[in-house]
Structures are given as structure tokens and as C-alpha cells.
């Protein structure tokens, strides 16, 4: 009787466990296995190379590190510009203000759209043709025609353009979380601060900021993890890597797999990148613990 009950309990989790084991656990293990092989993905023979793939990544693959730097640059802009904008907008909306709901709805439209749609729409707007290029047209109208150019094909501006479009797509998400955080701060705190003679800046500095530290850290962690791994937007915007200028790690992994048919190397790149992400989130976690103590 007891055995039957236990069996029944397992039946409830069985479908989830089976799907999870096949489509998550097995690929997870295979990534580590394949990372030590040289394999083109088709031939039945895999050549064991040990840690050679990793050696190549660290010593002979400048394009990988270029991609890493690019992702770091996009992440830096997302952390500063995108999150600062999100925070300011959340502050502006955290009050009795007309059209508050309208703003909230509109700011979250870019985040719900797919990266492909956003990328292709922006590509059409800022790169493809002069007539529809809103940015260039505005510059010309302002008499700054000299500055008008192909933002996405110029190596100097391509990466920044990608980062800005990424911020356009992402700020609404940070805004929403910041706003949710701000709304948990009890109004009484602000009231009593005002009674005690604190001005707006002082209560912002002494109430809002300290209480928002955990939320800010959370958004920072998620921004880093999300932005480092973003790549679909770049496919939509420039159709992939623009001679390395807009390449990011996941695009390199995809290129190793599809472009040069080096499945083992692609997995090794995936492991290296995964480790970097784990280290980053660990540092952030430690940092957030200390920040909370302050």
C-alpha cells in the first residue's frame, strides 16, 4: 500500500524529470565531454585532444577575446546608461502623476518584442537606406549632415550602435523592477523625514538609495548575465558578426559550430564562457552581501 502511494507520487514528477534529464542534463554533460574532443559533428570518429581546445582558446584565438571585450563593452553601457535611465524613469513614475499607466505600458513594449524584430526594425531605420534613416535625416535637418553615415557598417560606431539599441530594448525591464522596488518603500519614512526638515535630496540620499541597494544589485547582476549572453539582437541588426567588430562570445560559439564545423571547440568555448559568467555572478553575490551590511 505504501509502495503504491510512493509510486503514485513519482508519477507526478516523472514527465518533468524525463524531459529535464533528456534535454537539460544530457546536453549539460555532453558539453563537458565534447569540449575535450576534435569533432566535425558528422563523422562517427571523434579525436580526443584533452585540454587542447582550451589551450587554443586562451593562447591562439584573438577573435574570441575580441568578442569577450565587445560583450563587456555592451554590458558596460547597459549597466550605466540603460540602468541609470531605467532608475530615473522609475523615480519619475513613483509619485502621483498623470499618465503613469500609459508610461508604464509603453516603456515595457520594447522588452516584450523579440530581438529579431527589434534588430531588423532598427537596422532598417538607421542603416539600410538614406531616405528612411531617421537618425541621418534628423542630423541633416539640423545642419549636421557631416555626421550622417552608415552607423552599423562603420567599425567605429557599429558596436556603440548595437549597445544603444540593446539599451533601447532593455531599459523598460529595469524600469519595471526599480519601480516595484520603489513602491515597497513605506511613504511614512518620507513624511517623517520631511517633518524633521529633510529636503528632497537628503531623503533621496538617506532613504531611497539605502533601501534600494538590494534591488539595484539584483538588476545589475541580471543585466550583466543577460547582456553578456545577448546575441540574437546582433543577428537582427547586422546579420551576425561584422568582421569581428560586433561579434560576441555566443556568436563565436555559433560560428565554431555552424561556420567551421568544430563542435568540440564550440563546446570548449561554451564552457569557458559559462565559467566566466559563474565567476561574475559569484563576485556580484559576495559584493551584494557586503553592500547589504552597510
Amino acid at each position: 500500500m505504501k509502495f503504491k502511494a510512493t509510486l503514485e507520487n513519482y508519477m507526478f514528477v516523472l514527465p518533468a524529470v524525463v524531459i529535464f534529464s533528456i534535454f537539460y542534463v544530457i546536453p549539460f554533460i555532453w558539453v563537458f565531454q565534447l569540449g575535450m574532443f576534435d569533432w566535425d559533428g558528422i563523422l562517427p570518429t571523434k579525436i580526443f585532444v584533452g585540454l587542447e581546445n582550451f589551450k587554443e582558446i586562451f593562447l591562439q584565438d584573438p577573435s574570441w577575446w575580441q568578442a569577450m571585450r565587445n560583450a563587456g563593452y555592451i554590458t558596460l553601457i547597459a549597466l550605466t546608461f540603460q540602468n541609470a535611465l531605467a532608475f530615473l524613469l522609475a523615480l519619475a513614475c513613483d509619485r502621483e502623476i498623470r499618465l503613469k499607466n500609459f508610461y508604464r505600458v509603453v516603456f515595457f513594449i520594447p522588452p516584450v518584442l523579440s530581438e529579431i524584430v527589434v534588430g531588423m526594425a532598427w537596422r532598417f531605420i538607421i542603416n539600410d537606406i538614406d531616405g528612411a534613416n531617421i537618425i541621418n535625416r534628423t542630423l541633416m535637418n539640423l545642419g549636421l549632415g557631416n555626421f550622417a553615415h552608415n552607423w552599423l557598417s562603420d567599425p567605429k560606431t557599429a558596436l556603440t550602435t548595437v549597445a544603444l539599441v540593446h539599451s533601447w530594448k532593455g531599459f523598460g525591464w529595469g524600469f519595471l523592477i526599480f519601480l516595484a522596488g520603489l513602491q515597497t518603500i513605506p511613504r511614512e519614512l518620507y513624511e517623517s523625514a520631511r517633518v524633521d526638515g529633510a529636503n528632497a535630496w537628503q531623503s533621496f540620499r538617506k532613504i531611497t538609495i539605502p533601501l534600494m541597494v538590494p534591488v539595484i544589485v539584483l538588476v545589475a547582476i541580471l543585466t550583466i548575465l543577460g547582456t553578456m549572453q545577448a546575441f540574437v539582437l546582433i543577428i537582427g541588426l547586422v546579420g551576425g558578426e561584422l568582421a569581428g567588430h560586433t561579434s560576441v562570445p555566443v556568436l563565436r560559439i555559433l560560428a565554431s559550430m555552424r561556420g567551421s564545423s568544430r563542435f568540440g571547440y564550440a563546446c570548449a568555448q561554451g564552457i569557458t564562457f559559462g565559467l566566466v559568467l559563474v565567476i561574475i555572478s559569484f563576485i556580484q553575490y559576495r559584493f551584494s552581501k557586503r553592500a547589504r551590511q552597510i
Binding site: 510512493t6 503514485e8 507520487n9 507526478f12 514528477v13 514527465p15 518533468a16 524529470v17 524531459i19 529535464f20 533528456i22 534535454f23 537539460y24 546536453p27 549539460f28 555532453w30 558539453v31 569540449g35 559533428g41 519619475a92 502623476i97 508610461y103 505600458v105 516603456f107 513594449i109 520594447p110 522588452p111 516584450v112 518584442l113 523579440s114 529579431i116 524584430v117 531588423m120 526594425a121 532598417f124 539600410d128 531616405g131 528612411a132 531617421i134 533601447w168 523592477i177 539584483l218 541580471l222 548575465l225 540574437v232 543577428i235 555566443v250 560559439i253 555559433l254 559550430m257 555552424r258 563542435f263 563546446c267 568555448q269 561554451g270 564552457i271 564562457f273 559559462g274 559568467l277 559563474v278
Partner: protein, 282 residues
């Protein structure tokens, strides 16, 4: 002592500045999308010359051409089928598992649950390479069922987490009453727990539907045949074939984006909940 008029004017100025800031950002959000829609209604020549925001003539025929000649109708249907199947699968499988994790005691319960939660937090950026190999071995590559199973797996962890949190807080009295009346475990799950979980199921449904509709990378590596591709991947082939035909491409983008925007506007509450919950998980 400063007069009330001083404070009132100050208030008005501050408020207008705030609105100016918010409005300019809102316009920056909407303008590219409206420009996309506007361009989808122009002709190819007009796109180069007619830079007005509202087209002089509305060419709704572009949509028909994208739908038929561009083959977008089939891909649209694929996206719908994948979204419905994946969401249905996730709702059944994850609610069963979450219910068991919340209510039943059995050996290995905690380990299994921790495994699902860990999957949400450990990033494996190269997993699609191994997934490709796996699907090849199972002869599921370039098949809709392979894609659907992969996508069910993608949504499982978060959905189980959301549902288990909900079940943990849900009072057990109704289930106890059903048990005394002789209802089986599966019957209680189906007729008592699931109906009570409707609010959180709505979050699970909307959140996952959005995810599947917008998914790109797995669809890219799994499908070779155009006839199986969902919209997101088909857009790329489309761009290749109709490289110069911008109105058709913009019509395709609009067709892809519109369902999401409509669902978002109708289901805002649930999406916002899903996003904030997802953030807390991470």
C-alpha cells in the same frame, strides 16, 4: 516665508519637466515601431522618396503579398502551433511536478527540486551545440516534435518554481475534503488544485507563450526546412530572398510583432508579474 504661489509655480515647472522627460522617452519607444508599420504600407519607391510619417497611399496589399508570396502564412501558423503545444505541455507537466513537490513526501524530492532550481541559475551558453547533436541522434532534428520538447524543457524550471510557491501558500482544507470524499490524487490535482491555481497559471501561460513566440536560437539550429520554421527564423530567410523589398519585410516584422503587442496589452498584469517573479528567482 515664501508665498503659496511660489510653491505652486515651482510644482508646475517640476511636473512639466518630469512629463517632458517621460514623454520623450515614450516617443523614443513608440516611434521606431510606428515607423515600421508606416513603412510596411508604402511602396518600394515611396520608401526612398516619401519620408512622411503617414503614407500618402496605404498599400495594405503588402501584407497579403508577405502572407502569400513570402510564405508568411505558413510560418505564422507554425508559431501559433508551437506556442500552443509548448504552453499546454508546460502547464500540465510543471503543475503536476510542482504539486507533488509541494504536497507529497517521497525519497529524492528535495534533490530533484534543487536540480530544477539550479538549472535556472547555471548558465550553459554552449548547450545548443550538444542539443543539436542529441536531437540528431534521436532523429528529432528538423521535426516540430523535437522543437516542442526542447521548448517545454526551457520553460519547466521557472514554471515549477512559480507554481510550487503558489501551492505552498494555498490552504489544504479543500484538498482534504476531496480526499475524504474518496477523490484520487490525480483527481484532486485536476479538479481542486488546478482550478484554484488559475491566477498563477495565467502568469505561466502568458510568460511561456511570449518566450516561445520570441524564441530564435533553438529554432535556428533545429530546423532546416522553411516549412517548419517559426516566424522569427523565417524572417531571416525572408530578408535574404526579398533583400530589396523593404515594405514586405516591414510587413513581415509587423505580422510577427503584432500578436505579442496585443497579448501584452490585454495581459499586462500577468506579464509584469512573470517578469518580477522571474527576476526574484534569478
Amino acid at each position: 516665508m515664501k508665498s503659496t504661489i511660489y510653491y505652486k509655480t515651482k510644482n508646475i515647472i517640476v511636473n512639466s519637466l518630469i512629463h517632458l522627460f517621460l514623454l520623450s522617452v515614450a516617443i523614443t519607444c513608440l516611434y521606431p515601431l510606428l515607423w515600421m508599420v508606416s513603412s510596411s504600407l508604402k511602396t518600394q519607391e515611396a520608401i526612398f522618396k516619401d519620408v512622411s510619417f503617414i503614407p500618402h497611399q496605404f498599400h495594405f496589399g503588402n501584407y497579403l503579398r508577405a502572407w502569400q508570396e513570402g510564405g508568411f502564412g505558413g510560418n505564422f501558423l507554425n508559431s501559433i502551433i508551437y506556442s500552443v503545444c509548448v504552453v499546454f505541455g508546460i502547464v500540465i507537466i510543471s503543475s503536476m511536478a510542482a504539486y507533488a513537490f509541494s504536497r507529497f513526501r517521497f525519497p529524492g524530492r528535495n534533490i530533484l527540486f534543487i536540480m530544477f532550481m539550479a538549472a535556472m541559475m547555471i548558465p550553459i551558453p554552449g548547450s545548443f551545440v550538444a542539443l543539436y547533436v542529441l536531437l540528431n541522434k534521436l532523429h528529432l532534428r528538423n521535426t516540430p516534435i523535437g522543437y516542442i520538447l526542447c521548448m517545454i524543457n526551457v520553460g519547466l524550471s521557472t514554471s515549477i518554481f512559480l507554481l510550487k510557491t503558489f501551492f505552498d501558500k494555498m490552504p489544504k482544507e479543500l484538498e482534504d475534503a476531496a480526499r475524504i470524499d474518496g477523490c484520487s490524487k490525480i483527481g484532486i490535482w485536476r479538479h481542486v488544485a488546478l482550478p484554484l491555481a488559475k491566477p498563477v497559471l495565467a502568469v505561466v501561460v502568458v510568460f511561456n507563450a511570449l518566450n516561445v513566440w520570441n524564441e530564435y536560437i533553438l529554432a535556428l539550429i533545429i530546423f532546416d526546412s522553411r516549412k517548419y520554421m517559426p516566424l522569427q527564423v523565417a524572417l531571416q530567410t525572408f530578408q535574404g530572398e526579398f533583400v530589396t523589398n523593404y515594405p514586405l519585410l516591414m510587413a513581415g516584422l509587423t505580422i510577427t510583432a503584432l500578436p505579442i503587442i496585443i497579448v501584452y496589452l490585454l495581459m499586462q498584469k500577468y506579464i509584469v508579474k512573470g517578469v518580477t517573479a522571474g527576476a526574484i528567482v534569478g
